[in-house]
């Protein structure tokens, strides 16, 4: 039933060259779509094993800090983004009472809409990022692990730790062809009330069909240095990274 240009699928996961019956999808293509949709729906509700993830961070030789948002359940997380943008009181106290060491970058990790993404790629991406940062001697704070967080949570955590840059790694919403993408958002001078115009985003990080861990880490390192040098981030910070840095 496929179209003759079906071989072009080697260049993309997109559902091209599916064939046509009347004006509709052939039955097999339709049923394939339905199965993918069902899997993506289930992926949204897949739970995150935080303890095992924290153990993995320790194995990398990094300090992990487990924090909580004001979200009480997965169901509430989906309907109340405002709750996922704020720490609960206990977590605030934990950060507030820490010694105020000098931090260039605080890394925050949250399952977001895809625990599968964080479980599949989170530690590998984290490792690549720390390698990239280490070669440029940026001072990292503790790795903050927060279930059910939203992107703007990075403002509060970054502000409480007095970090110059806040970087949040988040499970992106599951799509039909990939339920396991990670996204990274970077904000200079994190403060509550910062807007999305002040963030830089690196998306679609997943192996093997998306952006590689290494490419994402090199891009983040590049943007971090640009941001610290020019003292801003977001729309005004144009990504002019030369391609050869990835070679």
């Amino acid at each position: 039933m496929n179209d003759p240009w079906h071989t072009l699928r080697r260049f993309t996961q997109a559902r091209i060259a599916q064939g046509i019956v009347g004006c509709s999808l052939p039955t097999s293509a339709l049923l394939d779509f339905q199965l993918s949709h069902a899997a993506a729906r289930d992926a949204v509700n897949h739970p995150w094993d935080v303890d095992s993830f924290l153990g993995g961070i320790n194995t990398l030789g990094l300090e992990a800090l487990c924090l909580s948002t004001q979200t009480k359940s997965r169901e509430q997380y989906l309907q109340r983004p405002d709750k996922g943008r704020c720490l609960d009181e206990l977590s605030r106290q934990v950060l507030y009472s820490r010694n105020k060491e000098q931090i260039d970058v605080v890394l925050i990790m949250t399952n977001g809409l895809s625990s599968v993404a964080m479980d599949s790629h989170g530690l590998l991406l984290l490792e690549a990022i720390t390698v990239a940062y280490k070669s440029s001697s940026l001072r990292l704070g503790p790795v903050c692990v927060v279930p059910n967080g939203r992107v703007a949570l990075a403002d509060e955590i970054g502000a409480l730790l007095n970090a110059r840059l806040s970087v949040i790694i988040v499970g992106e919403r599951p799509g039909l062809s990939a339920a396991d993408s990670l996204g990274v958002y970077m904000t200079y001078a994190p403060r509550i009330g910062n807007t999305d115009a002040g963030r830089n985003c690196i998306s679609n990080i997943r192996h093997p069909d998306g952006l590689s861990y290494r490419a994402a880490a090199i891009k983040l390192d590049y943007l971090s240095h640009q941001s610290l040098q020019h003292k801003h981030s977001g729309i005004v910070l144009k990504d002019d990274m030369p391609q050869h840095l990835l070679d």
Binding site: T12, A14, L78, Q79, A178, D196, S203, N204
Partner: protein, 462 residues
């Protein structure tokens, strides 16, 4: 002004017009999240009844957001044309609904006399069929390399996204779309990264494809307006300048834009001069919930904020305006019912305000919706005369991780409603052997030169 009614022995009080508007809105999760929604179904019905009694003039006298603190409010007042308003100046919101439904004339002359708030208000007391019946009578035609929005026509944006912007993968999706008759509104890529070199490469790829096959369409890489401006300075082939816009100054600030910046971008695109018909050089996207998402709604409901974004859009005579109706997620539009309602509202409001409205009929996988809901909205918007919809391989966007409408979906709509592509693009499809002269795919389309030459499409493919 205070709005008060007693219904069945119970008093209902709405402290201002903004509150009345929010409480009169058909239920959606965005307004619940913002704490603006009606507390009960009866309160909503009472609010709708009171809203129907409000004179249209009241919206000029009681701005929902003061112009002193919001440049969009100021723009709305500046745009208002008293002469165009004259035929309806004495009407209430309820009478305006009756007037719209009873009238049979072309509504395009009215748009300059309407404010987004008037249109949002009447929308709240209209049924879905009212929104369709009235929108059908608003034709908005725009031109670039083809003519979009003519009666009996439906265009599509070919959206060939790829998770790493691989030019070969993008070209493969473009080819697939063209072979299914898609792409007359625009071939528009959402880039995975805003890297300037990357966006430049994609713009060049699109330009090469359009030139090589002399396709009567236009291209766009949907990146921030400041990125498009920088690339125009570097000489990149920018057909359409894209930007997401919202209905308040503060929400636009969260997008990193303001009106002055949009004026500068449009002037730059005009000076580049790639559209020989002149002024339709912008492509805007909107969607209910964006102002709330940016915490920038000023207590105004999501649907009214959305209509205000159209005041921003119409200031710049865009080629295309696309409401991306279910894109953000269930915290703004919970399920298929809310998405369908919202799509019809946005199309109606945009058309009445004189905009070339299209719709990204879509949902995310954490919303309570599926492809059946999209079929419903697709069919309804086809009847309503929507200018364009999205065309995505198999309706599955592999970069943005959401589902929209497919090339197949557009063919379905063409068949059941007899809708043709833009005339110049239709002629090209026939010339390339893709369409058969009767608005259908040709059986012979697999021998089109488009396919045999694919490997010569771009140096990037080698």
């Amino acid at each position: 002004m205070n709005y008060f009614a007693t219904v069945r022995g119970k008093g209902f009080n709405f402290r201002d017009l903004r509150t009345l508007m929010a409480k009169a809105s058909p239920m959606r999760s965005a307004d619940v999240l913002a704490g603006l929604a009606a507390d009960s179904e009866v309160e909503r019905a009472v609010a709708q009844r009171l809203l129907a009694e409000v004179p249209l003039r009241q919206f000029l006298e009681e701005p929902l957001i003061p112009p002193e603190i919001d440049e969009v409010s100021q723009l709305i007042l500046d745009q208002h044309d008293t002469l165009a308003f004259a035929p309806i100046a004495g009407l209430t919101v309820g009478e305006f609904r009756d007037w719209l439904l009873a009238d049979t004339s072309d509504l395009s002359r009215l748009s300059a006399g309407l404010t987004p708030e008037m249109v949002a208000a009447v929308c709240k007391i209209m049924r879905n069929q009212d929104l369709i019946a009235v929108a059908r009578r608003c034709r908005v035609v725009t031109r670039f390399r083809n003519t979009i929005g003519l009666p009996g026509r439906l265009s599509t944006r070919l959206q060939p996204n790829h998770p790493t912007d691989d030019p070969r993968g993008i070209a493969a999706s473009i080819l697939d779309g063209l072979l299914y008759g898609s792409g007359d509104a625009v071939i528009g890529i959402n880039p995975a990264t805003d890297n300037l070199g990357n966006v430049h490469t994609l713009l060049t790829l699109l330009d090469e494809i359009i030139n090589l096959y002399k396709i009567p369409t236009q291209s766009c890489v949907l990146t921030h307006v400041t990125t498009s401006m920088e690339l125009m300075r570097r000489g990149a082939p920018v057909d359409l300048v894209f930007q997401s816009i919202a209905g308040t100054e503060a929400a636009n600030r969260s997008f990193g834009i303001n009106l002055a910046m949009l004026r500068e971008a449009k002037a730059m695109a005009e000076s580049v001069g790639r559209n020989r018909f002149g002024s339709n050089l912008m492509y805007f996207e909107t969607g209910q919930g964006s102002a709330l998402s940016a915490n920038a709604h000023h207590g105004v409901d999501a649907q009214t904020c959305e209509a205000r974004a159209y005041a921003v859009a119409r200031e710049f005579s865009p080629l295309l305006v696309n409401t991306v109706v279910g894109f953000i997620g269930p915290e703004y539009l919970y399920d298929g019912k809310q998405i369908i309602r919202s799509g019809l509202e946005d199309h109606f409001c945009g058309k009445l305000l004189g905009l070339p409205m299209g719709c990204d009929i879509c949902y995310t996988n954490h919303a309570e919706a599926d492809q059946n809901d999209m079929d419903n909205l697709l069919t309804l918007l086809g009847v309503a005369g929507c200018n364009f919809i999205m065309g995505i391989p198999g309706a599955d966007d592999v970069m943005l991780a959401y589902q929209s409408t497919s090339f197949h979906d557009a063919l379905y709509l063409r068949q059941v409603l007899g809708l043709k592509p833009a005339p110049e693009f239709e002629a090209w499809l026939e010339q390339m052997g893709i369409f058969d002269g009767q608005n259908r795919l040709a059986g012979s389309r697999t021998v089109t030169p488009l396919l045999s030459n694919f490997h010569g499409l771009s140096g990037a493919l080698s």
